[in-house]
């Protein structure tokens, strides 16, 4: 924090930068109505309305996510979502049916999918970022097929041959690929993440899984001995309890380690990412609040048979916004995206045939 104080003083004469927080103003109760009504309409229309539901939900969340009181906007039209969804469903149904028909074809299709998926990822990133705007300036994704194939397929596969020792490095490369190819108003993000931070996060996460599992195993053995000695309880009840306990422990271990990894990496990635001359990012996620949020959301969703889902989603968005802040430079007030002002703003007129996000969800 000493840095920012001296920075403020130094730049005060020419370009005053300003600190700002991300604010999420959505309300659980309000979103519940949107969610449940959209769910019913989607069911009644046998899924067709789900494209409209997706757009409305994103518009709600984008519109309520604000920086300096300026909302994000989601610009896609439901028809674009519907088209992409129909394509995705046809592809998925074919894959699903054919892989049941023949195990050999299933392997062939899996390999084929491996080559197609980078294209789908790039297509999806391009679509979703282009459909996102802040202060009437759009985001964009500049990655290409070869890059995506290298980072999403090749590196993870190669890391298997290093006994996963290279995986944190591969994950760093993936994050780097996505972020450094993202632009806002034509300006690309600059990312300077450390490989070491990814290794530390991965090590801590692995150690947590190992630690929790060890503790559970010890407790299990002790309980087993106790039950054998006292000869209490029947065998099948014990077996059932063991499998439930193992499942809970397994779930807890991976949720905890996932939370730790996510916190460490998000904080690091935000710290080391900037839009040169426009904004710097800061994330202050903490493991315990995030873990509690995740677990209480889960419990609430289970206990309400899913009805708490909108509340949980809003709560998570609010938390993630509250731990995110920015340093904003004055240039943000005068950005002009040349390319953007050429096209018609009415989505369906500008959209090409394949201007879709091929995704079921």
């Amino acid at each position: 924090m000493e840095n920012s104080v001296s920075n403020d003083a130094a730049s005060a004469e020419n370009k005053p930068q300003r600190a700002s927080k991300v604010v999420f103003s959505g309300q659980g109760g309000e979103f519940f109505g949107i969610w449940i009504v959209n769910l019913l309409l989607s069911i009644v229309t046998l899924g067709i309305y789900s494209a409209w539901a997706t757009v409305r939900t994103r518009q709600y969340f984008y519109g309520h996510t604000q920086i300096e009181k300026q909302p994000f906007r989601y610009l896609a039209s439901p028809m674009q979502i519907l088209k992409g969804r129909i394509i995705a469903i046809v592809i998925f149904a074919l894959f699903f049916a054919i892989s049941y028909l023949s195990p050999v074809m299933a392997v062939v299709l899996a390999i084929l999918f491996m080559f197609v998926s980078p294209w789908l990822v790039v297509q999806s990133l391009k679509f979703n970022l282009r459909m996102t705007s802040y202060r009437n300036v759009r985001f964009a994704f500049h990655g290409d097929y070869l890059g995506a194939f290298k980072y999403f397929i090749l590196l993870p596969i190669l890391s298997v041959f290093t006994l996963y020792l290279a995986l944190p490095w591969a994950l760093k490369k993936i994050d780097h690929y996505i972020c450094s190819n993202t632009s806002f108003g034509g300006k690309k993000m600059q990312v300077t993440t450390d490989t070491s931070s990814y290794y530390i996060a991965a090590l801590v996460a692995a150690a947590i899984v190992f630690g929790v599992m060890t503790v559970v195993a010890i407790i299990g053995v002790v309980l087993g001995i106790l039950m054998a000695v006292t000869d209490s309880g029947n065998a099948s009840a014990a077996a059932l309890m063991t499998s439930v306990a193992v499942f809970v422990a397994y779930f807890f271990a991976f949720t905890l380690s996932g939370a730790i990894y996510h916190c460490m990496i998000r904080n690091h990635l935000f710290e080391r990412t900037e839009l040169p001359g426009i904004a710097k990012f800061k994330s202050k996620m903490e493991v315990l609040p995030f873990l509690m949020l995740t677990l209480t959301n889960l419990v609430a969703i289970v206990l309400t048979l899913g009805l708490a889902y909108p509340w949980a989603k809003v709560r998570k968005a609010r938390y993630l916004a509250s731990v995110t802040s920015l340093i904003i430079y004055p240039q943000i007030d005068t950005l002009v995206d040349e390319q953007q002002s050429e096209n018609s703003a009415f989505g369906e007129e500008a959209a090409g045939l394949f201007d879709v996000d091929v995704s079921i969800a």
Partner: protein, 347 residues
């Protein structure tokens, strides 16, 4: 048509982040004029065809999108344009009206249940005849080939034991009006499957050595198991299972979207539970087929109960401990329930 007077808000030119505090006016010709609040300069003028209203979402202001890419956003999140067609607000009205929300809470689960457990099985059954026979043949052949390569070994049963099984198989084939013409019985030794039998969509039925040995003193029980497997083939259960699982996966994927970690786990296990439910339904169908055909062949339904009891004993599970919760985790109906069905029928 409604005119709109002096709506305060902010205006941005196309692709520009520069904000203008502005005032929007729409006249009786539906022409839009946006003026800067400070200078009074006209920032934009558009005919009715060159601007559109944004989506109405509860709790959010409704923007005006201009054809050239400029945007006007009212300051008041609750302001609604009187000039905007009333019909464009129906979704937002439903989303914020108590009655429609309550109705959605009640109706959504009911309809979802009905779609998954009634509509989809019906549609799956209707789709089955559309699947050409050659596809079913391929499905069976390929799976059988893979199993032979991985988990099945040549049978070690005595010639007489094999003959008994084949005799009952042939008898059933000859006496029963079966629709599938390509029934084939194979006996295999398999450590992976243990005492088990299964049917493939092309009519291939496999019974393991362990199961034959388990039931060797009760040939009618072997017949009951064979009939159960024929029931799967006759009911085209493999193809229906594929269709139903695909349907359920798609319905859940489309309706509940890309879930984050938490919901993912729930939906994942939900889909698995659904598959098990489908599987149990089909097992019951095959059970019923077996029981009916046993009677057609002049055998007692008790033979089926005997087979189940033997399997139950072999798996050493205590019939009394199979509790309500485990029921949903199982791909087969409760064995005690299946035995009861057979013995009920016998009386």
């Amino acid at each position: 048509m409604n005119t709109v007077a002096n709506v305060t808000g902010q205006y941005q030119h196309a692709g520009s982040s520069t904000l203008y505090a502005a005032v929007a006016v729409i006249n009786d010709q539906q022409q839009l004029q946006i003026c800067c609040q400070q200078s009074g300069d006209v920032l934009s003028e558009s005919a009715a065809a060159d601007y559109r209203y944004g989506t109405i979402i509860p709790g959010l202001p409704v923007e005006l999108r201009l054809r050239d890419g400029a945007v006007f956003l009212p300051d008041d999140a609750h302001f609604r344009w009187p000039s905007q067609a009333r019909s464009s607000g129906w979704a937002a009205r439903l989303e914020s009206h108590k009655l429609s929300i309550v109705a959605a809470v009640l109706l959504s689960p009911l309809l979802l249940w009905w779609i998954i457990f009634d509509l989809m099985p019906i549609m799956a059954s209707a789709a089955v005849p559309l699947v050409p026979d050659s596809v079913k043949q391929q499905m069976g052949k390929q799976t059988f080939y893979t199993l032979q390569k991985t988990t099945l070994k040549p049978t070690e049963l005595s010639a007489s034991a094999q003959a008994t099984v084949h005799y009952h198989w042939q008898m059933a084939l000859q006496k029963l009006p079966l629709t599938n013409k390509n029934y084939q019985l194979h006996l295999y030794k398999s450590d992976f499957f243990g005492a088990n039998a299964f049917a493939l969509p092309d009519g291939t039925v496999v019974m393991t050595d362990d199961l034959v040995i388990l039931l060797q003193n009760n040939p009618d029980a072997i017949l009951a198991v064979l009939l159960h497997e024929m029931g799967h083939v006759e009911g085209q259960h493999s193809v229906r299972m594929v269709a139903q699982s695909l349907g359920a996966t798609l319905v859940i994927g489309i309706l509940f979207g890309s879930p984050d970690g938490v919901a993912d786990l729930l939906l994942g296990s939900g889909t698995a539970l659904l598959q098990n439910a489908f599987s149990r339904d089909m097992e019951r169908e095959a059970d019923n087929f077996s029981l009916t055909q046993l009677q057609v062949l002049g055998k007692s339904p008790k033979a089926f109960a005997d087979a189940m009891s033997a399997l139950l004993e072999a798996s050493s599970a205590d019939a009394s401990t199979s509790n309500q919760l485990l029921k949903y985790l199982s791909t087969h109906p409760d064995t005690a329930e299946r035995i009861k069905l057979a013995t009920d029928l016998q009386q």
